[in-house]
């Protein structure tokens, strides 16, 4: 799925008035048009594994966002220093350092969340979203835009995770954020198999909306 990661990034315009337009464009790209989960299909492991509840989904989404913003900025700052041949190794070290910081902070301040996310906090290192954005965006753009891209992509990731977590917690356990609202749930939705099924349906819904929008556009022209 790596071929999907390259996003068209025109050279930054020197004119100041165009800055805000570009910031908005990068944000919207991350949140909707290039949503890392629903459109680019990146970071699947974390998406499927931690979305058994909405709380976990929010925790995972924000942790990943934090790592993504920091690593994007640092890699963008170092983009002229890092030799091309060893760039992937350099990116991985930067990312691993920030993941360790986030991991230790969660253990110190939010121990229960850290417990329920478990291994998957450390596995943010190998989340393809972060390396993908470092390679496709941060290494070619200024720190400001890289930070904006980190915020947009991170929040897009969080948004999709929250949708998954909400659906699986509600249908699987009949609860929202731990509060029981339905008498019972279908345990299978919260089980691993349910993760695949719910994500499959969500991606299908995205494609349905995209197809319809494309049809409408085509219909208008004809």
């Amino acid at each position: 799925m790596a071929e999907n990661t390259s996003v068209q990034t025109p050279a930054p315009e020197p004119v100041k008035a165009q800055n805000s337009g570009r910031v908005k464009e990068i944000m919207l790209n991350g949140l909707i048009f290039q949503n890392p989960i629903l459109v680019l299909f990146l970071g699947m492991c974390a998406t499927l594994a931690v979305t058994t509840s909405l709380t976990n989904a929010i925790g995972m989404g924000l942790s990943t966002t934090a790592v993504l913003i920091c690593s994007n900025v640092v890699i963008s700052l170092l983009r002229k220093v890092i030799p091309k041949e060893v760039r992937i190794a350099c990116y991985v070290v930067v990312i691993a350092a920030f993941v360790t910081i986030v991991d230790l902070m969660l253990q110190a301040f939010l121990p229960s969340l850290s417990q329920s996310l478990g291994l998957f906090i450390q596995l943010i290192v190998v989340n393809c979203i972060i390396l993908g954005r470092a390679e496709a965006f941060a290494s070619k753009n200024t720190p400001l835009y890289a930070a904006v891209d980190g915020v947009g992509m991170g929040l897009g990731f969080t948004l999709a995770l929250c949708a998954m977590g909400f659906i699986r917690e509600l249908l699987g356990g009949g609860a929202i954020l731990g509060h029981q609202v339905l008498p019972t749930g279908l345990a299978m939705i919260a089980a691993p198999a349910g993760g695949f099924l719910v994500l499959g349906c969500l991606v299908a819904l995205t494609q349905y909306i995209k197809n319809r929008a494309a049809d409408k556009k085509g219909g208008d022209k004809a």
Binding site: M1, Q122, M188, P192, A193, G195, F196, Q207, Y208
Partner: protein, 195 residues
């Protein structure tokens, strides 16, 4: 380590706690390299090889480098570097000394660095305080579990290639639903863990 506990570790790692379908590790290659059965098998074999090797090396690094120096918090950084270096080294070694194996596994090796199953296995080994032999066995068995899952999945996908789907479900959603159904079958193994 007795034969019984080895068998129970194998059953747990391959079936009851299958890396892909139960623990959600290594989903990217699982979805990406599963269009044909033979490429799936090649990928699986490469993962078994690298996971066994990396479990061994990361165990040694942890025991003789990180723990004595009181650097346990550097595990994530150290392990990912070890794995990346190891994959590169294995690639060079195979190219030079066992070219037949290199042509079979070559294209899959670089992809393995970002396979979270490899790092996941290394971290689980440390968390569960596995011994040296147990770590290697866990790495190899988990790799075999990955191979089983990806080969099963690829053979189902081959059959579905010409099936008709609703337009919205074409491509990625169809693969996810298929994986969901296989995962459902694997839920039946969940009572199997012994010891």
């Amino acid at each position: 380590m007795s034969l019984f506990s080895l068998v129970s570790l194998a059953l747990t790692a391959i079936l009851a706690e299958n890396f892909v379908l139960v623990k959600f590790l290594g989903i990217c290659p699982f979805l990406g390299v599963s269009k044909k059965t033979d490429t799936a098998l090649g990928m699986g074999m490469a993962v078994v090889f690298v996971m066994g090797l990396s479990s061994m090396v990361t165990w040694l690094v942890n025991k003789y480098l990180l723990l004595p120096l009181d650097l346990a918090y550097m595990q994530t950084v150290a392990f990912i570097l070890v794995i990346a270096a190891l994959v590169q080294f294995v690639e060079l070694f195979l190219k030079k000394f066992i070219p037949a194996l290199y042509t079979a596994l070559g294209i899959y090796l670089p992809l393995i660095t970002t396979n979270c199953a490899v790092l996941g296995a290394a971290l689980i080994n440390v968390q569960n305080h596995y011994s040296f032999i147990q770590s290697i066995a866990f790495g190899v068995f988990s790799g075999l579990g990955f191979t089983l899952a990806i080969v099963l999945f690829a053979s189902v996908r081959e059959r579905l290639e010409f099936a008709k789907f609703p337009k919205a479900f074409e491509g990625f959603p169809q693969a996810l639903i298929t994986a969901g159904l296989i995962a459902m079958a694997f839920m039946g193994f969940s009572g199997l863990s012994i010891g």
